[in-house]
């Protein structure tokens, strides 16, 4: 019944360390409890709450951000792991008066409902199109040696790490197709 006995670290304060990375082009110098995730560093310390906490366990994708050009789940990453990294969050893609094309496409195609998974979906959507351009294969890729293309099922498979309980998937696919088409 009881979990493993823990010896409490008596009132001694938890270890903290300095860490610096850039967020949306701006340098962030923080001194954090080593246990702080990148997600909580963004949301609670930098007050960039666009990145969402849906599960805190890598099971939903709401916390997706782009680090050094690749999307990751920021909930499963310690802030300490990101010394010197370049982090892009939804706020860095665009703001209400200056939307990123993917954000504008989500608005146009109603690629969301409650909006909570949306920043993660958009960070993923932007990254997915880059991953296809970079010729990274996916589970539904037929010929692994041919050029990847942003087909409906390629995009749906690659977006599957971002759960939308409101079920906006088909509209997100339309938004992505518009952005992908615009690029071609």
């Amino acid at each position: 019944m009881s979990s493993r006995a823990q010896t409490p670290a008596k009132a001694s304060p938890p270890p903290t360390m300095p860490v610096s990375f850039t967020v949306n082009g701006k340098k962030a110098d923080l001194k954090l409890d080593t246990r702080t995730t990148l997600l909580d560093a963004l949301r609670e310390h930098l007050k960039l709450t666009g990145t969402k906490k849906g599960c805190d366990h890598g099971q939903c994708g709401a916390c997706t951000v782009i680090v050094n050009g690749e999307r990751i789940n920021s909930c499963l990453s310690l802030a300490m792991q990101h010394q010197g990294d370049e982090v892009t969050t939804i706020e860095g893609l665009g703001m209400p008066d200056d939307l990123h094309p993917m954000q504008a496409a989500f608005v146009k195609h109603d690629g969301y409902q409650c909006g909570y998974c949306t920043p993660g979906q958009i960070c993923s959507a932007v990254s997915v199109l880059k991953e296809i351009e970079a010729n990274i294969p996916s589970h539904v890729t037929g010929d692994l040696t041919s050029r990847m293309r942003p087909t409906n099922m390629e995009m749906r498979e690659r977006m599957s790490g971002n759960i939308c309980r409101c079920g906006a998937y088909s509209n997100i696919a339309d938004a992505m197709a518009e952005v992908a088409g615009g690029k071609a």
């Binding site: 080593t34 890598g58 999307r71 499963l76 990453s77 310690l78 993923s124 692994l144 599957s160 790490g161």
Partner: protein
């Protein structure tokens, strides 16, 4: 999450020394499984050694025509590597069948081999679990076991190894290269890397304290046609009910391994020899010692049918 001190090791030697010199330290690579477990106090290291700066992120050709995959190569990078796609497509397929794009970007080759079970009772610290809390019992044995092991388990634990990559590597006869805390290195066949639970389900694998996976070696390409067929309820981002990794040669011979059925990637070499006789014969040999629960008995029939599908595809190629 228990408080911990954090250190970045600049080299493999520094890392193994740092972890090997105490009994409450752990390596951190991608962190996609470890941090999940630390948040639930299933893993409780007091010191974390981050190995991201150790230079283990390269894929190199080996002298005998194979590949040496650095332990820090991400799942995405490994699956997208041109040589892997061309010569070891079962590995690309296996990796891309697992997790999500975000997780694959972060998860590493070494870390993925060390992924712990996803058994719900292991994850719920209110429940008895010999893997998490040795001697406490196994709540899963008589419980919700649909996802759990049908073979290789014991009466102490029926957890499955949940990964896909390792199942692909298993049919490629991969070898795990490690460095121990004293700086010595060794090679462990992937077949011998994961332990069956027996009386000590808390030990997932044969690594010693402070021993670090530095690389995975693939022998020269096996040729043939490569398949990875994963069966799961939802179409993506789910652990396998059953998966089948297979390399099938033109003459019908080949190798096959199964995921989602056992505490390790499940391959019985004697069963490979039956591939020419069809799925039923392979399963009869590979699952001869199966001890399923009522809830997961279907996995044996499912493995047979999934393999039959793979063999049919191989024939139609």
């Amino acid at each position: 999450m228990r408080p911990f001190t954090y250190q970045r090791a600049g080299s493999v030697a520094e890392a193994v020394k740092a972890v090997g010199s105490r009994d409450d330290a752990m390596f951190l690579a991608g962190g996609t499984n470890l941090l999940d477990l630390m948040k639930l106090q299933i893993e409780t290291p007091a010191h974390i050694v981050d190995i991201q700066d150790t230079g283990l992120d390269k894929i190199e050709k080996t002298k005998d025509g194979g590949l040496r995959i650095g332990a820090l190569v991400s799942n995405t990078a490994l699956s997208a590597d041109e040589r892997v796609r061309k010569d070891y497509p079962v590995l690309t397929r296996a990796i891309q069948a697992g997790a999500s794009g975000q997780l694959r970007n972060k998860a590493t080759t070494g870390g993925n081999l060390l992924q712990r079970t996803r058994c719900s009772y292991f994850y719920d610290t209110n429940m008895a679990c010999n893997k998490r809390d040795p001697g406490s019992g196994c709540a899963a044995l008589q419980g919700y076991s649909r996802q759990l092991a049908v073979i290789g388990s014991s009466d102490k634990c029926i957890a499955t190894y949940p990964g896909d990559m390792a199942v692909g590597m298993r049919v490629l006869d991969a070898v795990v290269e490690t460095m121990k805390a004293d700086g010595s290195t060794r090679s462990i066949a992937l077949a011998d890397f994961h332990r069956l639970p027996g009386d000590h389900p808390e030990q997932d694998n044969v690594l010693e304290t402070g021993e670090l996976i530095t690389a995975v070696w693939l022998p020269k390409p096996p040729g043939g046609r490569h398949f990875y067929h994963k069966v799961r309820d939802r179409a993506s981002y789910a652990f396998a009910l059953v998966s089948v990794a297979a390399v099938i040669q033109d003459d019908g011979s080949g190798r096959v391994a199964f995921g989602g059925v056992a505490p390790k990637p499940w391959r019985v070499e004697a069963a490979d020899a039956a591939l020419g006789q069809g799925a039923k014969a392979v399963i009869a040999r590979a699952f001869a010692d199966a001890r399923p629960t009522e809830e997961n008995r279907f996995k044996i029939a499912l493995a047979e049918r999934a393999l039959a599908g793979v063999l049919a595809e191989a024939r139609n190629a």
